[in-house]
Amino acid sequence: MPESRALCRDCGTDFPTPPVERRCPFCDSPRIIEHAELEELSVAHLDCDAFYATVEKRDDPALADQPVVVGGEKRGVVMACCYIARRYGIRSAMPMRQALERCPHAVVVKPSMTKYRDAGHAVRALMQETTPKVEPISIDEAFLDMAGMRGVHGTFPARILDNLVRRIEKEIGITASIGLSYNKFLAKIASDLHKPRGFSIVGRADAVPFLTDKPVSLLWGVGPALERRLNRDGIMRVGQLREISERALVARYGTIGSRLARFAIGQDSRAVHTGEIQRSISSETTFRDDLRDGAALLDKLWPLCENVGRQLKAKRLAAGSLTLKLKTSNFKLITRSRKLARPTQFGTDLFAVAKPLLSQEVGHRKFRLIGIAVKDLLEFEDADHADLFGPTTEHVVENAVDQVRARFGNDVIKKGRTFRP
């Protein structure tokens, strides 16, 4: 059997050469992908399309043809926006006010994280059915290593992935894009090329020419700061990096230099890591009006601690350290970290650690945002729980509250500290 060079995205038929007029002779679909290395490439990056917005559209068909923006109302930022909204120039992380200036009739939907989490977990479950080598990056994207899966699925990776995406569309009701290549960094770049519902391929033969004219900011690890430095040094395009020796890049930019040198020639030896537990969990909130008062800030802090505690419990993780994040009214970011005396998944413990960190910062400054993040996560089962004095009253209470909430809903019971008559 000759090797397949093309694939119909809608019916999954593959062809040794692309069909005439690039339409599938069986289903008449124009969604044909073709690549010389179609059968060989096995490292993929799967990224859900405008994830939060797509989930919202799925759950409310009336939104289907509307520009949808997910995020907080007056003050917040855009957490996600659908592709219609993007036509008006709306981007995620844009302040909501600005988004609404660009598209006043956009439908603003408040985020419902539990819904997204459920959808994200469903997507992950389908990925894990497809290959055991799944490296989640966030709730809606992951790397998949398809090497060796040919024997299991009876076909080549690209087709398996195409099936996976169609299952995600059918069973979960959202869309995703695939980037397929021979390493992680190219797969990640590829998945972003033709969104939504994209399937882009970068092969060994075309990687170097593909990269040559791309801006350096496309490379993994090149954030705004490094991009500015590179640009200042006259390096705008990936191809220019190839004109500089790896040694010189390291000397000038530090260890990232050697990664830049390898990326520039399309090399990335990082493996797809599976089973790695999440690195951090965070929660933050932007205030409607800037806050200065310590008591008011504490009121904002507790729900965050409770929320992170809830996520830790849901994922059966315990946190080893905590970071308090504050943003002043003039956008100065302040972070304060503490290692925890013992790993915990209780909101009360997180609050007890975060509270003194916060009170050190409270004074004359006004803040617009507060957040906490926990790091050094370990499986809850690995945390050492043995205690000479047994569980504290606070832990017993929090467990009881959790049980009540599990049965009767989140709002039936609250800590007195959030109660304002």
């Binding site: 005396a341 690995d382 000479l388």
Partner: protein, 371 residues
């Protein structure tokens, strides 16, 4: 105010008080040290509102007076001045303190002494004198177990109280973080019998210990339900106590542990240290497997491999396997000064007692880990 003082004298006094001053302060005056010149003395006071240290030293006072200035800055200046220098402190107007030594001169901003917080002079009804060495021992052998956990603030210090051991009255220091517990006794000093049990906060424990290095002889301790004061000759430390109830620690010291292991303390500590090289950074757990007169230590980590070591010990009991945090074992082993250590074990999940065979007055309890 105008005084002349020996650099070494001022440096040591500032060294004692400046630790109290937090590096970051929201209340500016708390960054300052209060200087009071009177007669032939200079007294220096620093506070964080919970803990206050006053030290009085001799100085040549040509004009009495008082002011406050940045403690860390003054300490840094004096530290950098040459050894043997005579330092002149002059408060010309109320806002500048001139510090002059040889050819160096500094002008430091001051805040008025009236703004310096004065902690209420409570009556401290209980009072006793304790040998500096005994107090040192109580602190040294217990402070490693003090908890840093915010939720159980009542464990963030040493519980000092009058107790009894085998019918003999004792002054006892207990510290615990829930994983391990240290209990150290010394003979009850006269006047301490009626004292309430008090929790001395960690920061005060550290400062008291620092000041103890400067004293021989004895320390005068006075306390109430809310404050404790340690007087060391020229310096006096007063601290608020932790307002909480120390848990009933007696309840968690097991009495029926019947598997008794005696081991050479040094061999044991070294073996634990070696084997723990392999235990994972996060858990630090090592496994102790006991057979008749044989102790097998082992550690396993998915990342770094495995380690095994065997020790000949005195153990007549039945076979048992138990896991511990290696760091906690080492902390305790390093408190044992005698040649052999004794472990009283029950099973893999109940607390184990560790002690120095040669020292009845210190006892440690350690919670096992699952391995």
């Amino acid at each position: 105010m105008k005084i002349t003082i020996e650099r070494a004298t001022l440096l040591s006094a500032l060294g004692h008080v400046q630790n109290v001053v937090e590096r970051r302060n929201t209340i500016p005056i708390l960054s300052n040290v209060l200087l009071v010149a009177n007669g032939s003395d200079l007294s220096l006071t620093a506070t964080d509102l919970d803990l206050t240290i006053i030290e009085t030293v001799g100085a040549d006072v040509s004009q009495g007076g008082a002011t406050t200035t940045a403690a860390h800055t003054l300490h840094d200046i004096v530290r950098k001045l040459p050894d043997g220098a005579q330092i002149e402190l002059t408060l010309s107007d109320q806002s500048r303190l001139a510090v002059v030594a040889g050819r160096s001169s500094f002008a430091l901003p001051c805040l008025p002494k009236e703004d310096f917080p004065v902690l209420a002079e409570d009556t401290l009804p209980h009072s006793f004198s304790i040998a500096a060495d005994e107090l040192k021992r109580l602190i040294d052998k217990s402070r490693f177990a003090i908890s840093t956990e915010e939720t159980r603030y009542y464990l963030n210090g040493i519980y000092l109280h009058a107790a009894e051991a085998a019918g003999v009255p004792m002054l006892r220091a207990v510290a615990t973080d829930g994983h391990r517990l240290a209990q150290v006794d010394c003979p009850l000093p006269d006047g301490a019998a009626s004292m309430p049990g008090v929790i001395v906060p960690r920061k005060a424990v550290i400062e008291v210990r620092r000041l103890l290095d400067q004293v021989d002889g004895s320390v005068q301790v006075s306390l109430s339900e809310t404050k404790i004061r340690f007087a060391f000759g020229k310096s006096v430390l007063t601290t608020k106590l932790i307002d909480g109830t120390f848990p009933d620690y007696q309840r968690v010291i097991p009495s029926g542990n019947d598997k008794i292991l005696e081991v050479d303390r040094r061999q044991f500590a070294e073996a634990v240290d070696r084997v723990s090289t392999i235990s994972t950074e996060k858990s630090r757990s090592i496994k102790l497997t006991l057979e008749k007169d044989k102790l097998h230590l082992s550690a396993n980590s998915p990342d770094s491999g495995s380690a095994d070591e065997e020790l000949v010990v005195n153990y007549p009991g039945e076979d048992i396997e138990v896991g511990f945090n290696s760091r906690y074992l080492l902390d305790i082993a390093s408190q044992i000064n005698g040649d052999s250590a004794r472990l009283d074990l029950a099973d893999a999940v109940s607390p184990t007692i560790l002690r120095d065979v040669a020292d009845e007055r210190a006892l440690y309890v350690l919670m096992p880990m699952r391995v």
